[in-house]
Amino acid sequence: MGTHCYETGNHHHQSRPRLIHTQSPLCLGGWTQAWSGGGTDRGVVAGGGVGVWLDMAVMSHGIHIDNLTLGYERHPAVHHLSGVFEAGSLTAVVGPNGAGKSTLLKGILGVLRPLSGEVRLDGIKAQQIAYLPQQAELEANFPLTVLDAVLMGHWRRSGAWRAMNGMLRRQALDALESVGLSGFASRVMSTLSGGQRQRVLFARLLVEDAPVILLDEPFMAIDTHTATDLLALIHRWHGMGRTIIAVLHDLEQVRSHFPCTLYLARRALVWGPTAMALTPEVMAQARSMSEAWNDHAFWCGKEAS
């Protein structure tokens, strides 16, 4: 386990994706390696000064994509995609506009029903996956304090009624501190800038403490300084053994921070270690992807074959 960060099953594809097999655990962090090798039942990870206990039983949160086709009005946006996001992997999803990146995340979350194929989640329910949408449809003028917005991250555990006690509050304040918004707890959300709002959403993700985290263009319209801070957070999550999938556009960022890359152009051009995914040939191939929407397209015959 954990020796390569993808498996691809596009055997019947005409233009086959590059298959890159690697024996080195390029796409996985050291922590996961230690865990999957060791036989201990629990692992403790130091995160932000607070020890976080993660049950080993729920540590294998791989996401299996099996011949998945997702789309709108039966036109595929993700077409016959197969592979695995290994537990504890840190994967960037890149590709041109309309390549199906956000669609894939929605498919994993179960918001979008597959047209065919399936997404299998190991040891986790779709509702437990933390997700940062491309443009969170936040009510901009909503009278809510920053602290309350972050406390919202406890929802899955607290539900509608459990009291927000001192510990939960402390966690939210700690989260605010780790995203660099220490003094902001009692500010109202509507007074924040776009970048600050994004930091708040990251703080909420911190509080959510989910084993799988999906980020859809988390750094769009964010200055480099903020992006650097938030990238450090992502690394920390990775170090804690969480499975992270991020849709990104900045290829430099991907090169320097993400061990694993899925280059998507409706189908996977490459799904493997970043160094081998971001080559000039692959990028040229991606550019040639047609964005055309043909109303009279023929039915895809792959299911039949």
Binding site: E139, L144, M152, W155, S158, M189
Partner: protein, 292 residues
């Protein structure tokens, strides 16, 4: 005329004024928080739509059982809930947005209601249903108003957290809870309940005014959800008291009098409210804090 005569005598001397006062204070408490949530979810006009929607139920109850409050109330509640659920379902399973669903189903509902009333009763009944008669509140109407206000307050308290999350970040609740639709449905049922409770006292059209005007005016005075609710309730109670007194002294219909007072409060808040009112914007136009 002494102040005592103006403010207290009407209530001391006349039982119907006391009843009217208690009923409208109860309605103010019950509908204030609901109005705040409707406004925060940009559904301010939905109360209006639902108030039209309950009419055929009330009219059908009237047709079946004559002027019987329990039957008419039940009919109104069922009709309102039906329109709310149909709109929700059409938004969930078709490409329509929820407001489009409300617009279409409430029109249908209203037309059915007017037909029923026209077929049976005269226009006087219709006016009564639409605008109510706060000065003819009997024990049953009083109990209904107070009872539904209590239910509304308790349920809002119970589902407060999911409602706030749903207002602020609806997608988040949808993804992390499989009960997102349930909270919404409970909330819609509360809107219908409070409107139906108000129809006898204020009339279905005026009940919306008491629900929305104080809630929207509160926006200019408070900046958190709970304080908005508190301010909305206080403003609604104030409107009810002043409106009732005006209607008593000047022989005005009470429902419109109460709502008009709420309207005056709203305009005053719009101009003088410290949080984003017109005056505060002009006054603070050139002043700002130091950079820190």
């Amino acid at each position: 005329m002494t102040l005592h005569e103006i403010l207290l005598d009407p209530f001391e001397q006349f039982g119907f004024m006391r009843r009217a006062l208690v009923a409208s204070i109860a309605l103010a408490c019950g509908s204030g928080p609901i109005g705040v949530f409707l406004m925060l979810r940009r559904l301010s006009l939905m109360g209006d739509a639902l108030s039209h929607a309950i009419l055929p139920g009330v009219a059908a109850g009237f047709l079946l059982a004559g002027f019987s409050l329990p039957i008419m109330t039940l009919g109104g509640f069922v009709a309102g809930l039906l329109v709310a659920v149909l709109s929700g379902v059409s938004a969930r399973f078709t490409l329509l947005q929820e407001d489009a669903g409300f617009a279409s189903f409430q029109s249908i509902s209203l037309a059915v209601g007017v037909l029923i009333v026209a077929a049976k009763g005269g226009s006087v009944d219709l006016l009564h249903l639409l605008f109510g008669s706060v000065l003819a509140v009997d024990d049953a109407a009083l109990l209904l108003a107070v009872g539904s206000a209590s239910v509304s307050l308790v349920v809002v308290a119970v589902i407060y957290r999911p409602l706030v999350i749903q207002c602020f970040d609806p997608a988040y609740l949808r993804l992390s809870s499989h009960r997102g639709e349930l909270w919404h449905l409970i909330f819609l049922a509360l809107v219908v309940l409070v409107l139906v409770a108000g129809f006898q006292v204020l009339g279905s059209l005026m009940a919306v005014g008491l629900m929305m005007l104080p809630a929207i005016a509160a926006r200019f005075w408070a900046r958190q959800v709970w304080s908005l609710m508190l301010v909305a309730i206080v403003l609604a109670i104030l409107s009810a008291i002043v409106g009732l007194l005006l209607s008593f002294h000047f022989r005005l219909p009470s429902g419109p009098a109460i709502v008009l007072v709420a309207g005056v409060i709203h305009v005053v808040s719009l101009v003088f409210g410290p949080r984003g009112g017109i005056w505060s914007r002009i006054r603070l136009n050139n002043r700002h804090y130091q950079e820190c």
